[in-house]
Symmetry: C3
Amino acid sequence: MDLIYALDIVGTFVFAISGILTAANKRFDLFGGFVIAFITAVGGGSMRDMLIGATPVGWMQDLNYLIAIGCGASFGYLFQPYIYKLRRTMFLFDTIGIGLFTILGLTKTLDFGISPVIAVMMGTVSAVFGGVIRDTLCNVEPLIFRSEIYATACVAGAVLFLILRQTGLPYDYSVMSTVLFIIALRIVAVRYHWGLPEAGRTSNPSEES
Amino acid sequence: MDLIYALDIVGTFVFAISGILTAANKRFDLFGGFVIAFITAVGGGSMRDMLIGATPVGWMQDLNYLIAIGCGASFGYLFQPYIYKLRRTMFLFDTIGIGLFTILGLTKTLDFGISPVIAVMMGTVSAVFGGVIRDTLCNVEPLIFRSEIYATACVAGAVLFLILRQTGLPYDYSVMSTVLFIIALRIVAVRYHWGLPEAGRTSNPSEES
Amino acid sequence: MDLIYALDIVGTFVFAISGILTAANKRFDLFGGFVIAFITAVGGGSMRDMLIGATPVGWMQDLNYLIAIGCGASFGYLFQPYIYKLRRTMFLFDTIGIGLFTILGLTKTLDFGISPVIAVMMGTVSAVFGGVIRDTLCNVEPLIFRSEIYATACVAGAVLFLILRQTGLPYDYSVMSTVLFIIALRIVAVRYHWGLPEAGRTSNPSEES
């Protein structure tokens, strides 16, 4: 489990960076930036834990998450100009992050005796909801509702992980395969501009412009 | 209880339609549309359950809700142009939905030993909060804060239901009367442009334009 | 404890006023105004209680909070023009409110056996999160992310309170000292335009305008 724990911490660290960068774009002050970093990193897991009744929520019981967030936000603040050049590295870490958060959320939900279908959803919530709250608090329209295949990759990964678990593959291999699958899916999706069709089918008589 | 369960599922179905239509107006992709449909349908009940401590939240324990949402969102996606012509039918189902959600929320809260005043509020939360989150995530100002008597009808209906319960009327009759009352109230309110006064009394020196 | 309970009720009352005034500026109707007043007053404590698993959340177990909110919102509605002239008084009460909410949130979290670092955060959440939800629902960018030292004062106060508790000072004195410290900090911060640096360090290539 050590490897997975380490990757979970890395995911938290990367999500904190993405949080403070969004806040910086909105010209929030430093405190606001750290708050947004924090919410981006723990928002998804907290929502999952509150929904399934796993309270106090996970990050309250292990201060390493807080430390990872502090480091991530500081790193994001100090190295902003460089990070913009490191887009690919960030993209990779972010994808590792959502892959792991998906699996951890899925597993925790199953541990609470909840059905696999719901567990797939809660895995996805763990991965993407922090970003949704980040965008909502920053008064930005949540990216995931319009961008390339992002949450969809989590759903696909979660389903794959469930199948692999059935095959009796060791836990670590299942995790690795799932994360690699999610990474591959996102890279391919971005390269070939994969996307889902719009929810609106016609130029409908919209209620707002 | 069969009738009430059936109506609850219908309410969920209708809320999912309203969710995907809002997302379509904002040009979200199909995944985003289903997410918004889902949140609109279960947001109110989930908020209630988290506040009163009824976790895991209700919809996690009965997959029929998920199925109803899937059907509602698909229906909304496939028949968009027709639905705009079916405004009245939608209005009716939506009102049935909020009526039932109000009663179910009220009853569940009372079952947790919480006072009737709070139960009336939680009934209303169950009915309207999904729509509030839908509007917030879509970056639209929540409709209910400015529209005709919507949440107010839930409050009035909840109070009526509490009174009917005291009279010893059978449960099904109380439910029916309450839902019919809420429907009548909304129809009359819309027809005669009933509305509450604004919260602002004067042309105050507003802090934003 | 009587004094603290009374001040808690006063804090709730003042937060309700600030809620209805924000709603009035957005031209919500009266119902929406009361809802926003309510959410502003209980949002922070509810979020804390849901995160630490203290459900049903606190205000459901003592109707005096509802009464305080009803009075605060009515007061805010009726005396709007005068309140704009009472900015200083409001500022004072609001600061007392966040000071007390910080301490109450901190204490409650510690009572749940959660670490002091998290308790400081939950104290701050109790104090400021109601305002964040208020601003988000009103589609206003949350003030606290850009304004003078607001949440930071809560954090500082919470840390001071923890230290004072260690010294064995009687509870009431610790509370008083902390609240006075937070008030002093905010007054000095406003007067001398203290603020934190922006989260963005350079005129970065922002992703939106």
